[in-house]
Amino acid sequence: MTQISLSGATGTTAAAVPAVQISGVTKDFGDVYAVRGIDLALNQGEIVAFLGPNGAGKTTTIDMVLGLSQPTTGSVEVLGLHPRQAISRGLVSAVMQTGGLLKDLSVRETVAYTASLFADTAPVEDVLRTAGIEPIADRKVGKCSGGEQQRLRFAMALLSDPALLLLDEPTTGMDVEGRRAFWSAIRADAEKGRTVLFATHYLEEADQYADRIVLISQGRIVADGTGSQIKALAAGRTVRATLPAADASRLSSVAGVESVDVRGDAVYIHAKDTDEIARYLLTHTAAHDLEITARGLEEAFLSLTGDDHDPTTTTSEGVSA
């Protein structure tokens, strides 16, 4: 705590201690290597999407940031503190998608219970009002709808005015309007310095609402950048053509070709400028039935996180690994 050199109210993000500092972290459970070496620093006030398929190591990493489990090697710091110390100061909160509530407590009791555990919190009645759960304050949690329970979880998470908020698939089940309102509230808090790290499967949501996307696969970070940087990875189109006995190595040598997949009689060629490729295929080979499609974010996501790709080679084309 003493080494923190913050300039207080006029502090700038650059001078501030990182909200999260993960250094050389691995985590294994016996023979299972859940996290294989992660280095990541999150600045204060950033909204970061943690994107990756199930089993990529997202949850394991988040658990270590929350101090719920210890890294096998490496270290995790939250605002320059051990995660557990940060939690005892009310600096970290998390909202999970399910669970974490007692059915036999009322909504008000749940908030009062949680509030009483922190040194400083907003008054319970204010929190209930802000979260829009004042009308159901006396209802048993078990009788609340899924949406009401989620609002309660958020109310609990915001009680201590956390500097770091971790969210697990935060907008699952919300409609478009709810999602927009949710993110504008999150954005407003981030402007006051709160860092938000959210785990998601939805690339579109990550792209739309996060300042930064960290793509994780098989226990490693495979890409880390802004939405547009991640999109750049996915830039380009795919030409599909029917070409029996295609010579993959010759096709790869054509100018502008990034990769070539031969699947039976079909050939898939990825490139930024596919017009030239199409012209080449039609004039220099027997290719026919050409189809040209844009590579979407989903495809980029799959190609970066897919099982058939070695993450270490994928990062070589990445923004920063």
Partner: protein
Amino acid sequence: MTTHTIDPSLRRVPPFGGFNLTVLGIELRRMLRNRRTVIITLILPALLYLMIGTNTSDSTQTEGSGNVSAYILISMAAYGAVLASTSGGAMVATERTLGWSRQLRLTPLSPIVYILLKSIVALALGALSVIAVNVVGVFNGEASMPTHVWITAAIIAWAGSVVFGAFGLFMGYLLPGENVMQVIGPLLAGLAALGGLWFPINSHSTLGHISACTPIYGLAQLARWPLYGGAPHAVWVINLVAWLAIFVGGAAWQMSKDTARV
């Protein structure tokens, strides 16, 4: 908050590991709102006393400084305290299953304070159970023993039941689920029979030797000891302390294994 960065050194840690009266009050209220807990711990032992302890022909026969009815009253108070403390401890099973324990680990509440809170709640419930049986006994009028025996026996039954608060915790960590008491209830009834709460067991028989090794035996003997006076047997105390050590050790072991995903 108008700053753009947050200074963690301005944040405070709550005193006493997060222990406070708001939480204790909510926990106590919660327990008394649970209909099954109230029936099992407050009504059942008193009812059992009325059924077993006041309807037999020998209930007024002399036993120690009191009568047979008093002997059964103390046994049922001890049984109630055991049930109450166990259910108090076993509440952690439900809380783990619901993810509440995980939620609490994201607050400043220290795990030791959490266990302390659960123990206070378990002992409070145990006290209510002992009081319920004794109040029923006083009003019923069948049981007779000197006042100091009433009081010391009740206090020993209650205090000794702390063993079963630890037992409940241990089971709560061992058998997660929302209805762990449905498993433990019959187990406790069996242990109560073996420990000599349902009927007296001849201590020189084979059953008597087995009985002396079971967890309720020490508590049952010690709770009834004021009725007879004299010095308590070392076996009773050893039984109680040994089982306390086993259950506390078991609970601590399970808790330390209780890592991330619950």
